[in-house]
Symmetry: D2
Subunit: 295 residues, 4 copies
Amino acid sequence: MQKKLQGVLPPVVTPFDHNEDLDLAAFKANLARWNRTGLSGYLVVGSNGESVFLSEKERDQLLAASREAAAPDKIIMAGTGAESTRATIQQTRRAAELGADCALVITPHYFKGQMTPARLADHYRRVADDSPLPILVYNFPQATGLNLAAEAVARMAEHPNVAGIKDSSGNIAQLSELLRLCPKDFAVFVGNAAVFFPALCLGAAGGILAAANVIPERCVELQQAFQAGDLTQARDLQWRLVSLAVMVTVTHGVGGLKAAMAMNGYQPGVVRSPLAMPDEAAGSAIKEELRRLGY
Amino acid sequence: MQKKLQGVLPPVVTPFDHNEDLDLAAFKANLARWNRTGLSGYLVVGSNGESVFLSEKERDQLLAASREAAAPDKIIMAGTGAESTRATIQQTRRAAELGADCALVITPHYFKGQMTPARLADHYRRVADDSPLPILVYNFPQATGLNLAAEAVARMAEHPNVAGIKDSSGNIAQLSELLRLCPKDFAVFVGNAAVFFPALCLGAAGGILAAANVIPERCVELQQAFQAGDLTQARDLQWRLVSLAVMVTVTHGVGGLKAAMAMNGYQPGVVRSPLAMPDEAAGSAIKEELRRLGY
Amino acid sequence: MQKKLQGVLPPVVTPFDHNEDLDLAAFKANLARWNRTGLSGYLVVGSNGESVFLSEKERDQLLAASREAAAPDKIIMAGTGAESTRATIQQTRRAAELGADCALVITPHYFKGQMTPARLADHYRRVADDSPLPILVYNFPQATGLNLAAEAVARMAEHPNVAGIKDSSGNIAQLSELLRLCPKDFAVFVGNAAVFFPALCLGAAGGILAAANVIPERCVELQQAFQAGDLTQARDLQWRLVSLAVMVTVTHGVGGLKAAMAMNGYQPGVVRSPLAMPDEAAGSAIKEELRRLGY
Amino acid sequence: MQKKLQGVLPPVVTPFDHNEDLDLAAFKANLARWNRTGLSGYLVVGSNGESVFLSEKERDQLLAASREAAAPDKIIMAGTGAESTRATIQQTRRAAELGADCALVITPHYFKGQMTPARLADHYRRVADDSPLPILVYNFPQATGLNLAAEAVARMAEHPNVAGIKDSSGNIAQLSELLRLCPKDFAVFVGNAAVFFPALCLGAAGGILAAANVIPERCVELQQAFQAGDLTQARDLQWRLVSLAVMVTVTHGVGGLKAAMAMNGYQPGVVRSPLAMPDEAAGSAIKEELRRLGY
């Protein structure tokens, strides 16, 4: 993979129409608009892409469409983690066939009591061995109930085909250890906007941020300000991002994220049940927040 | 459904051969042996059946095989829960076509922060409306990170097509509330042997117990002793069950369960990665425990 | 100690007047009324006695008053646990001087990360060695953030001066292990009414129940029905107790407990800040619940 | 209070001799040595000062000794929080009489289920009203099981006598919100070294760091490097601090902290039971870590 793993990527949403069927045209329209921003690329069929609701065929359609619609310089990162090692390998190979640049592999977690560090190390080693693509480890304790300690990730980072991590824990002490223990070229992305700026201060490569579906330019500006040494502006942008970020992730989830995108001119469609779109009050709160941010 | 929802059911394991491929012959052989016990029926493609590792085709094969191999009076309960409402309905319909008697539907949980009581109530209502089979709600907080409160279940129990619950929380105070609030004919099963006897004291209909894969007779005897009013014998059987039960669920998981089954003459095969079979020390501990129980 | 450690004990509340000062007359009046019930005794200066708010002098006054006001056959159990081993020993000796029959010792917990099983075992051994009274271990994870596993308690039970345990965890699987592993004469009390009946089924000696401050007779009747082999009546009493119990412990805490006692003719006074008495709506809910129970 | 609330303060340990009795001479000797560093002041009778083990008289002795031994420009911050509002006020007044500059007030937490935001707000308002000293709120969820949300702290910050907060949660997203919502002159200290550098990037006033008992100069240098705009050096110092900090807080607790201090020439004495000094292996690990840091 020659594209540099850094910068801001949105975990792109999967648009569904009012029958909850896949809307590929809307998906491509969103990518066309994002292509004109400073985003480094796209995470496709990830958590915010409602991957757990997608059939095998739908996953294939989305990966193919992303390769087709994305500007050539944008990274296509495919979410390919499954509960079994064999299914994870199959999905990663399929993503490679469909043109993805790298794969994001979440920790298997249904049998969380059995997922010892040794079992997880073995899982990632086998996936990395058999994957035609560089893989990134995905640590998301809030969804999985499992956390990968910094030492465990550092050992995984020794494999030549493990290129980085998306850490959505929000645990900055752990992120700090991670950055201290891993090689310089191991790409550490944070997965929540609420800690984006402090993560950059510690040396993170970038962020895979739900909010970047809605306001990609602001997220990119924050990293640029930091890189230019303007801590004050970076911190101010951080503070302006946080409340929107919390709203479209923790509080209202993917439904809130899709509502905010629609308000900002994107074509996100609706969510699949049992998720739901925000009710009127929540919708107004999101609109108000976007207005406060100058949209 | 005319079979009475009560008694002991094992959540039957799915045998895999040494390539981790499905071994249907072994699956049927186990059912043939269990048919000669006092078990009320079988939970197929449930958690202990490693359902999260199964393809659609494998699920179909297992359900068809269970209908074929089970004695006619045994209940076939199919695990059909998925993350999306639409996939849950599809799998439940498919289980009906393949001859299942009822369906067990786990709470969707990947987006746990969004799974409010209202969202879950709506999910179960829609599944119950569209299901050709009676459904049972499945509460398994240790795996899902979500708990269904007694009041929420009591409201679900009002739906004519919601026939019962499998509660694996181990929370007896909550189970007590559940039994108090739900109609008498609502079938309350507990999902862990560690609380089987106290649950019976409170009025539970039975147990869906991993240990019943290994020692079905002992589990059935416990319930029979209780029903005959022999609290002392029931309590003694409970104490003899508990340490084995903890070993084959919490400590060594499905791998431990399969190892114990093999020691007791069943054909469980191995587990799929990233799960693993117990190492030698753990295997010896399980063997010792079985010996202590008189096997 | 010759009184048998079994039956129902209320963790008696500490009455404060409207200046939040100790009201010893009210305290004695409550004991005088409880003396006429089937309660086995009283837990004084325990959690529900707001012991964490009491000065050394107030503790002494309450222990002396309880010895004076309690009927001679009632057990006086004194809460004497402190964070340091030395303060725990001092308070236990002082309780002995003031006439207590036994002492209840909560796990030290402020430094919870350091309270390994070995540290706790050592703490209890030293307290038991130096205590003139038999001690009971107190496991209350909801307040302390620490849990004592069944094996750890079983080892403590080997000490001749460790006479029993109050377990408020509500974890029935653990209680079952505890009863299996400890000697027959080790007195196991549960600390929450929500699991009182199932705990009796498993062989518990009794309950130390907040609700017994309000409706002591019902709690005693439950245990008597169980001992007479009338499971149905015991279960029915359990169901009638549970919602009141939840209200005066989990939902409204000591403030709710004191409000319910006042409604039932006791003299509980008010709580100390930052605790608060229930507001009007909560007060009405408690009154309604008492009415439903026939008071 | 005229001294500026900023910079690095150690939560000073309380030396005990081998009978576990207070050693005031050792306490003063440590302060004398720290007086020659760039530390801003001292937190006395805080968590790391084993305040939960101290008698009223010992608290008074330590506060008087700290006023006597501290250089005049050093801040004396006294830990004065207790479970009841009345005891907290009494201890805060006493600290003022003994010459403290400000008071640190931990959230009451034994009755954590009852400590609603409204109850806590009322507690802090009453303490702030009655305190002769400016107070700082202390948020320490790991010990208390309670967390103060950023919005709740922002409302407390409106009181003219609430001067700041010590936040030991390690939650940087929350700290970021706190800094966004509170007035510029509200002094936000972090309570764990693991997030010191990112907290400074976000605008924190300083740190109250256990590690500053051992290596005060390094902690002060980190903040100075940050203030001089040298992010790279600040980050490097952070990385050098983290593993020591984890060792003397999370892993080995106050016992580990005292061992490390002794190795570095201070006079910390031993801990009170049930805490313990590290065993030989742990002691060697700490020594090795100090050596790695250049001591």
